[in-house]
């Protein structure tokens, strides 16, 4: 058997997976292409549906924000009124204290209400965003768990991770900050504008003069800045990649004396990043002063025209005469005018990023679920398996299995051998319905597996993969993964049965020892023993073993062997075998070649036959004894 790549021909398979975005710097690359959503409208609608999921909260929030905005806007109005109580008479300057105190008290009241409401607004916004994100995350996760294996095999894990983390985070930020600030900006804008109209339509018109300028400025400058930011993000991603690549392969770097070269390369990127960052910063810093200028321009315009109308009442028809305090109030409102526009411009980018993120999230949600429409109730699966006329390919036009037939009787041990790419792993993928057939039929106990609910099918099968999957939890939980409802006795029995008890009991905390992420604090052999224990506990009728090719020390190796042999007792076993002893002990050896069975039979028969198996055998094992 070929020790090369025991995973069949699957193109970008990653069972072991890359560690994914370990640190916060990880998924930088993914951030590059999410500047702009492709279908803004549709995504927005869908996202709003999510937010709308808590309608009551949303309505309350908008209502409260309305109150906050109104009371905020009332501030300058009342302030103007209060200052209008100061009058200049012949006898000098005088204040109508009673009126002023009244206005001030009213102002105080308004502010108190506003503050209280702002507090509620904060809480509601928090609740709303957290609830939305919570649901979004749960839905996304549920979706991921329903995706067919094909999806995880053909998509980069880092990318899926980054959708779950970064993109959801972006959406969350947009909801908790952008939405409230957007709504309140719009409300403020509308409010301030209506107040302006209240003081005189001509004044409102004057106040509007700067709006197109503001919009044009933010849009253009924004576009310009974005260019630098995108480039900067890209460079950061490159630097990230460089460090990651060079550090993970540091031994090779050192062995080939490439340190200086890599430092040079790094310096180049770093220098480029420096230049790009400076440009981004400087352009960014221009925005503020420009806005400031426009804001003040508006101020001056209002003061000038206000003063003019004050001195020349009646010059504009249908305009009621202005008072000093009115101008004062208008000046205050004009300040309230520019900020929201600025704010909307700022939020625009955040919202775009969030929408792009949402789009990527929905992309996952829109991918097809695993097909699971089997209805046939099958009880007590015995374990007769039959593959009939199977055709299958991962990539269209590149068939992996061609007209494949195999029949396994309950309780038989079948060793599948063959060179890399002959389709060994594919058989496993098909039996468990990780992948669907192109044509043909697989039956278990005579029932087509597409007619059996996946749960029933998979519960009757246990697989022990050579890339063991463990979870960062206790050893106990990891074993019980085979059967959640098992009690401790059964769990310990499974460990004993698979000879894992020895090393577990030597651990300081025994079965309660916590495993590090993917069990990296255990040795390869120990991890395999654990995954065998798990299969023992699951007590399946059908067993799939993918023998490890990797190097494990002799003693552990013996244990794994013994455990596997014990596990196979009384079960239908399909073994992707690499060890001579396993192969020799099998009831049937199936030799795969180019997606088809080249020959089958037991060890002696096949050797005597002198065909493919004989060649393989000579190649792999016989050489040793000569």
């Amino acid at each position: 058997m070929n020790n090369g790549q025991p995973r069949g021909q699957m193109p970008p398979m990653r069972m072991a997976g890359r560690p994914g975005p370990g640190g916060p710097g990880g998924p930088m690359g993914a951030r590059l292409n999410k500047e702009k959503p492709k279908n803004t409208k549709k995504t927005l609608k869908r996202l709003l549906k999510y937010i709308g999921g808590s309608k009551l909260l949303l309505i309350c929030l908008v209502a409260i924000m309305l109150i906050v905005t109104v009371s905020d806007l009332a501030g300058p109005f009342l302030q103007g009124k209060a200052i209008n109580t100061i009058s200049i008479t012949e006898s000098g300057i005088h204040v109508d204290m009673a009126a002023m105190t009244g206005y001030l008290a009213f102002m105080g009241g308004m502010f108190a209400v506003s503050a209280l409401m702002a507090f509620f607004q904060g809480i509601l916004a928090a609740k709303l965003s957290q609830r939305t994100v919570y649901t979004l995350r749960n839905d996304l996760f549920r979706k991921i768990s329903k995706l067919p294996i094909k999806y995880t095999d053909t998509h980069k894990h880092g990318d899926i991770m980054s959708r779950m983390t970064n993109d959801v985070e972006n959406v969350s930020n947009a909801i908790s900050q952008s939405i409230t600030s957007l709504i309140s900006s719009i409300l403020t804008l509308v409010g301030a504008f209506s107040m302006m109209i209240y003081y005189g339509w001509i004044m409102a018109l004057i106040a509007c003069v700067t709006i197109p300028m503001t919009i044009a400025l933010t849009a253009n400058l924004g576009k310009f800045m974005r260019k630098f930011f995108i480039r900067r993000q890209k460079l950061l991603g490159q630097i990230n990649g460089q460090v990651e690549e060079m550090v993970t392969s540091y031994k090779t770097v050192v062995a080939y004396g490439k340190e200086t070269d890599s430092v040079e390369e790094f310096s180049k990127m770093s220098e480029e990043l420096r230049k790009c960052s400076i440009s981004a910063r400087v352009w960014g810093s221009i925005m503020g002063p420009c806005m400031n200028f426009l804001g003040n321009l508006q101020y001056v315009l209002i003061a000038a025209f206000g003063g003019f109308f004050l001195l020349n009442p009646g010059i504009i028809p249908f305009m009621k005469p202005l008072l000093l305090g009115d101008i004062q109030a208008m000046l205050q409102y004009s300040k309230k005018f520019t900020r929201p526009i600025n704010e909307i411009a700022n939020q625009y980018t955040t919202i775009l990023t969030a929408l792009a993120g949402a789009e990527r999230i929905f992309e996952i949600m829109d991918s097809a679920d695993e097909v699971d429409d089997g209805q046939t109730v099958v009880e007590d699966i015995k374990g007769d398996i039959e593959f009939k006329d199977i055709f299958f390919s991962y990539e269209p036009g590149e068939p992996v299995l061609r007209d494949f037939d195999l029949s396994v009787k309950a309780g038989q041990k079948v060793a599948i051998v063959g060179a890399t790419g002959s389709g060994k792993t594919t058989i496993v993928n098909l039996l468990t319905r990780f992948y669907e057939l192109d044509s043909g039929k697989i039956t278990v106990d005579g029932v087509d597996i597409t007619e059996i609910p996946k749960e029933t099918l998979r519960r009757s099968i246990a697989i022990v993969l050579q890339d063991t999957v463990l979870f960062s939890d206790t050893i106990r939980t990891n074993i019980k993964y085979g059967r959640l409802e098992a009690d401790d006795e059964e769990m310990k029995f499974a460990a004993r049965f698979s000879k894992a008890d020895g090393f577990i009991e030597r651990l300081p905390e025994g079965y309660d020892s916590l495993l590090a992420e993917s069990g990296s604090n255990l040795s390869q052999g120990q991890r395999q023993l654990l995954s065998i224990s798990r299969a023992v506990l699951a007590d399946p009728k059908i067993l799939i073993l993918d023998e490890a090719t990797s190097s494990v020390d002799t003693r552990t190796e013996m244990k794994i062997q013994q455990a596997m042999v014990a596990l196979m007792e009384n079960r239908t076993s399909l073994i992707i075998a690499h060890r001579l002893s396993t192969i020799r002990d099998a009831d049937v050896i199936v030799v795969l070649k180019a997606g088809n069975i080249a020959e089958s039979g037991n060890h002696e028969e096949l050797l005597a036959h002198g065909g493919e198996y004989y060649k393989l055998y000579q190649n792999q094992f016989a050489g040793i004894s000569t």
Partner: protein, 601 residues
């Protein structure tokens, strides 16, 4: 902080000029309310009579000469003046931003490069200790954090204090009584900020932890999808995720709640101060004769007190980011302060009969406990010899060969290459003699020929092809559409294990090493290919010393000598036939791989 100053030194000029430029902007910002006051007070209220204002009358006299002025004249003059001030202030602001960006980005660049250079000079054990992920974060996120902080420091160091002081002075200049308002508002505000932050900041850490937990569930589900599906545990995993998710939600809401309190409370304080100022102003107009209080004064006072309180808020924000930036500085400094354990010697080396020689070598990994990995090993490997090492995992095979190119240093004893102690070698010369093919093949993003040229930068196309041929990589390379120019993405994820191993062997061969170390680096090849590869090596390499670690007996049995390593010592060292007689361990390994089946043929 020490590091920031040290790295800021080359940009000292920029770093000093930047805050000075900021003063210009602050000055403009402080002027504006005064100009506005004149517009309101004298332009609008007083009908253009500026005689009471020194600033007003001076400006008007300069522009229009002596006399009395109309309302519009005052408004427009001061309006234009305002805009001028804004433009000038803006210019100062942009210049300040430019200098600050230049200084901080320069600092960041130097810091980044130095840190990277340092990492590239560290010994393996040290980079292992840091872990890749943490080094990536330090080099990117932490450095960015430091840059942002420095920039903010340069731009903001003068702003809030100047606003605070300038605003206070302006406010008191308007009327001393406004000082009372400020004296009341400031402490209340500070207490509120401190109260909220002291609760919120520790929560940030908890949020991060919960987020990590959530991420690790997702990670495990994505990588372990097969097992989860095989055991039908989707619902179980969803529950696990939902639990982590709701924990995150609860803690996130807590943080946001605290922030929800903070914002309105601060506005209340600010608005209360506004009301107090207006009231006090109004009261004075009526009750204090000759107070000089006017509507404009009151409005200016409102602006100033808002500015003062805002700057206090800004200062607290700055303090908050100081602690975060300091954490980043510490993490980067940790890298910069690490001195490489392995220091290069200066000898170049000469020829000797014995290529590699271990003399009483013991080794334990730094900070590792228990018995040493290697103890008292003495072995001579002759020039041109093929020397194999077998033994159980964890017996110390890799550790032993790691000592040759000085990836690690022996704890006791000496290692000699060509008769010279490796510690006395110039590191570069030493490593140039050796090609080391790792257990796990590490390729780099780039074309196939670029990857092979890693071994020798100036290798010709023929040399590359030759190396690929000996490494038996030729066939599969030629099967690619673009041959040697095919691009290998993601560290060779598109290649099979065997292809990767052959690639790294080709890379090792192209430099024509004196010593070739193969650390279990043919494990993914089938025996036939491996045998051909071994034949090729033997034929082509001539007097290259080959040291190979292997699991499979079949791979090593043709070696000149085989060393059996057991528990860190060499238990036997001889040819295959000899070992079959004298070493029970070797026979054990042999049997475990062969069982009795082998003899059948």
């Amino acid at each position: 902080m020490k590091y920031i100053f040290k790295y800021l030194k080359p940009f000292a000029f920029l770093a000093i000029i930047s805050p000075l430029l900021m003063i210009g902007e602050v000055f403009a910002d402080l002027c504006l309310p005064r100009l506005m006051t004149i517009i309101v007070d004298y332009g609008i209220y007083n009908g253009g009579d500026v005689s009471e204002s020194v600033l007003g009358s001076t400006v008007m006299r300069i522009v229009f000469g002596e006399g009395s002025y109309s309302s519009m004249q005052v408004i427009i003059t001061f309006g234009i003046l305002m805009l001028l001030v804004v433009v000038v202030g803006g210019c100062f602001g942009v210049l300040c931003a430019y200098t600050a960006a230049k200084a901080s980005q320069g600092l960041g660049n130097a810091l980044r490069c130095d840190a990277y250079k340092k990492v590239m000079s560290l010994s393996i054990e040290q980079t292992d200790k840091f872990t890749t992920g943490s080094l990536v974060t330090r080099m990117t996120n932490d450095v960015t954090m430091i840059i942002d902080f420095t920039e903010m420091l340069l731009r903001m160091i003068v702003r809030p204090p100047m606003f605070l002081i300038g605003g206070t002075i302006m406010l008191l200049a308007l009327d001393i009584s406004f000082g009372f308002v400020m004296a009341c508002a400031l402490p209340i505000m500070l207490i509120m900020i401190i109260l909220v932050l002291s609760r919120a900041v520790p929560l940030y850490g908890v949020v991060q932890k919960k987020l990590d937990k959530l991420n690790s569930v997702v990670q495990e589900n994505v990588t372990g999808a097969r097992v989860i599906k095989a055991y039908v545990r989707e619902d179980y995993e969803c529950d696990r995720f939902e639990k982590a998710n709701s924990e995150l939600r609860v803690i996130n809401e807590k943080v946001l709640m605290l922030m929800a309190i903070m914002h309105p409370v601060l506005t209340v304080v600010m608005n209360a101060a506004t009301i107090a100022v207006i009231y006090m102003g109004g009261w004075q107009i009526n009750n204090v004769a000759g107070s000089g209080m006017s509507a404009g004064t009151i409005m200016a006072a409102v602006t100033y007190i808002t500015q003062v309180l805002m700057s206090v808020m800004m200062l607290t924000m700055m303090f908050q980011s100081v602690s975060r930036a300091m954490a980043s500085v510490k993490r980067v400094a940790e890298v910069l302060d690490t001195d490489p354990v392995i220091v290069s010697g200066d000898k170049i080396g000469d020829d000797s009969e014995v290529a590699v020689s271990f003399r009483g070598v013991s080794f334990r990994y730094p900070e590792a406990m228990g018995s040493p990995v290697l103890s008292d090993i003495t072995v001579d490997i002759k020039r041109g010899e093929t020397f194999a090492i077998v033994g159980a995992t964890g017996s110390g095979k890799t550790s032993l060969v790691n000592l040759i190119p000085r990836f690690y240093d022996a704890t006791e004893g000496q290692v000699f290459v060509d008769g010279i102690n490796v510690k006395e070698y110039d590191l570069h010369t030493l490593r140039k003699k050796i090609s080391y093919v790792m257990q796990k093949s590490e390729l780099f993003s780039g074309t196939i020929s670029e990857n092979i040229r890693w071994g020798k930068d100036d290798a010709t196309a023929e040399e590359v092809a030759e190396a690929a041929r000996i490494a038996r990589a030729e066939d599969f390379v030629n099967s690619f559409n673009e041959g040697y120019d095919s691009y290998i993405a993601e560290k060779g994820a598109s290649l099979s294990g065997g292809q990767k191993q052959r690639m790294s062997i080709a890379r090792a061969l192209v430099r024509r090493p004196e010593i070739l170390i193969l650390d279990d680096s043919t494990s993914a090849l089938d025996l036939a290919t491996e045998a051909k590869l071994r034949d090729g090596l033997k034929r082509e390499l001539g007097d290259t010393t080959v040291i190979m670690i292997a699991q499979r007996i079949a791979s090593v049995k043709d070696a000149d000598r085989i060393a059996v390593i057991e528990n860190g010592t060499v238990s036997a060292c001889a040819s295959h036939e000899e070992l079959m007689r004298i070493s029970p361990t070797y026979v054990d390994i042999y049997n475990s791989q062969m069982k009795s089946g082998g003899e059948a043929v």
